[in-house]
């Protein structure tokens, strides 16, 4: 019988640990590179006129991303308006009726919806909104983003409400409060932290999405507040400018990237803050 020497085994053990630590730190290196480059290339571009001006035509220096910023907020507004009411109600539905085939299939649908590639969602919004309307529009972009936000909000609401102790509902019902009021005035407020987190996280997710907007919102060089017309937003602008042959536009794209990354990271931080501050103790 041959037995590996103890020294050899200890050596392997130490080697393994070193490899693990090395690979771990390697895997987070890209993050540093990305942040470094975006900051260094983008921050020099960012100034007040960057935020307030419209992009200039090719060949002219300067210009800004004002329409992209407004567009980003408008699209987020439309998508939130679509997804939050339905999402919260569907989440309440799932958490109230725990058992049954309908619930099982609905949950499965929510998970499936979450996994649909964003470009496919773009195709759907194209078929459902752009084709009947006959043109690209902020509305169709908002619908696409809303479809992406929906499953996240449903899941967040469902999971949060499931954790609320039954005693709370009983206390309210025993006071003669009707079922709808119990849900809306007692249960929902108790779960507001988790639900808001879900909403904020889904906003952070769609703020950076480009694919579903390529043929819905489409992008535009103009400032527009009309939801029936095409609209620009930060990710679309970055994509269009980065893939263009003009160096001035590349510079703008770096600046826009900086703003976008700051926005997304800021939203994530806000989420953490909200979760902690509004968490309800039972």
């Amino acid at each position: 019988m041959e037995e590996p020497s103890i020294r050899k085994r200890i050596l392997w053990d130490k080697l393994f640990k070193v490899i693990i630590i090395l690979l771990t730190f390697c895997s987070i290196l890209p993050m540093f590179f990305i942040l470094f480059f975006i900051t260094s290339k983008g921050i020099s571009v960012v100034n007040w006129s960057f935020f307030t001006q419209l992009p200039k035509p090719v060949g002219e220096i300067g210009g800004g991303i004002s329409n992209a910023i407004i567009g980003t907020f408008m699209l987020i507004g439309i998508s939130t308006a679509f997804s939050v009411p339905v999402g919260i109600l569907a989440g309440i539905f799932l958490s109230e009726y725990r058992k049954g085939r309908l619930i099982y299939f609905t949950r499965l649908c929510v998970e499936t919806l979450q996994g649909i590639p964003s470009i496919v969602i773009g195709i759907i919004a194209y078929i459902w909104v752009v084709v009947p309307m006959g043109s690209f529009s902020a509305l169709s972009g908002g619908v696409a983003l809303g479809l992406m936000m929906l499953p996240v909000i449903v899941t967040a609401t469902d999971e949060t409400l499931k954790l609320i102790p039954e005693g709370l509902r009983e206390a309210s019902l025993a006071l003669g409060v009707s079922y709808p009021r119990t849900i809306l005035k007692v249960i929902l407020p108790a779960g507001i932290s988790g639900i808001l987190t879900g909403i904020l996280l889904s906003i952070a997710r769609v703020a950076g999405e480009t694919a579903p907007l390529l043929f819905t919102a489409f992008g535009s060089p103009f400032m527009s507040l009309n939801i029936l017309k095409p609209i620009n937003n930060l990710p679309l602008m970055i994509f269009n400018y980065a893939t263009s042959p003009y160096p001035e536009w590349h510079t703008l794209a770096w600046g826009a990237s900086f703003v976008l990354v700051a926005l997304v990271l800021g939203l994530n931080l806000l989420t953490k803050f909200v979760t902690r501050k509004w968490k309800v103790q039972f």
Partner: protein, 331 residues
């Protein structure tokens, strides 16, 4: 006004007021309860609220079904025209109205699997590190935040950085290797993709590893095994299917990833010849050509690409989630 309420409603009060010792309190409560009784009729009824909840739930179901059917119906012209040969057709030529999806299938599978292999080399050690060696503490929190950041960076930013930072490096490599120096292509796309999908398999892997019962590990340690041996022989086998599920989910993510890939894959509709060739994936083909599609056959072929993508990613995601649910991990 309150006196009037009492006179009108006093006959409806449910219980005598004499039970209260303090008559002013009795009066007061009586007034209040008159209003309570008068009020019960108004307000949202339970059944209509329940109906609304039910509708919202059905909405979600209907949405998914509608998405599937919309894709199928819109792809019908292409399906009728090409049938199953759509998937094996090697030519994608809009000019001659020949649409075969095979080049994109190759591009998708090549980039996704290559990205998967590269990412696994990093995400499994990452899971082991966070699950075993450093489960708590500042380092752990720091690394977990970094992973979250990696997952939060928008795809277009990855594409941008990939195009301007990674592609030149790859171009240098290609020149050294004597290959055509595109800079973009399957290799670059796979590299970018691999970085993007690390967080998905890493976080699930970490969770399943941390769920391995400590008494199993302690039993092995008490028998004299080294940490490495415990991980190799106890932890990994136990967490094995969970780790695989995490990898499946990151595969699902890779298959559907569009923007970053579109920006660095080189946009070629031919079957890629090698790892450094430019290509197109299902997603990048749609992204590149959708707005220029003229004619219903062209458009419906692109939509059929989307249908294929939808089916493939759904199957993989559902599979991955089923395995995870079986292991009892919350995703």
């Amino acid at each position: 006004m309150l006196e009037k309420d009492i006179k009108d409603i006093s006959v409806e009060l449910e219980y005598p007021m004499g039970m209260l010792k303090d008559s002013s309190t009795a009066d007061f409560l009586a007034k209040v309860h008159a209003r309570v009784k008068a009020r019960w009729k108004s307000g949202f009824s339970e059944s209509s609220f329940r109906r609304i909840l039910y509708c919202a739930g059905i909405c979600v179901l209907v949405l998914l079904v509608a998405i599937f059917f919309s894709l199928v119906i819109a792809s019908l012209p292409a399906i009728r025209n090409f049938g199953i040969w759509f998937l094996s057709g090697v030519t994608w030529d809009p000019v001659r109205s020949e649409f075969g999806a095979f080049p994109f299938l190759v591009g998708t599978l090549a980039t996704s699997f290559l990205a998967l292999i590269i990412s696994v080399i990093f995400s499994i050690p990452l899971s082991i590190f966070l699950g075993e060696y450093s489960a708590q503490g500042a380092t752990s929190t720091f690394i977990k935040s970094m992973i979250e950041l990696l997952a939060g960076v928008p795809s277009v930013i990855y594409g941008f950085c990939g195009l301007f930072l990674l592609a030149p490096l790859v171009r240098n490599l290609e020149m050294k290797l004597g290959v055509a120096p595109y800079g973009v292509g399957i290799f670059t796309a796979s590299l970018v993709l691999s970085i993007m999908i690390i967080p998905y398999s890493a976080s699930i892997g970490r969770e399943v590893i941390s769920l391995v019962p400590s008494d199993l590990k302690e039993a092995a340690l008490s028998l004299g095994a080294t940490r490495f041996e415990v991980i190799r022989k106890v932890v990994l086998p136990y967490a094995g299917s969970g780790i695989i599920a995490g990898i499946l989910l990151s595969l699902g993510r890779a298959l559907g990833e569009t923007m970053a890939v579109t920006m660095v894959i080189g946009n070629s509709n031919f079957i890629p010849k090698g790892i450094f060739s430019p290509a197109n994936t299902l997603a990048s083909a749609i992204a590149n050509e959708f707005t220029e599609a003229t004619g219903s056959l062209y458009l419906s072929s692109l939509i059929e690409l989307g249908l294929v993508l939808f089916i493939v990613t759904t199957v993989i995601n559902v599979l991955g989630k089923l395995i995870i649910r079986r292991m009892g991990v919350g995703v």
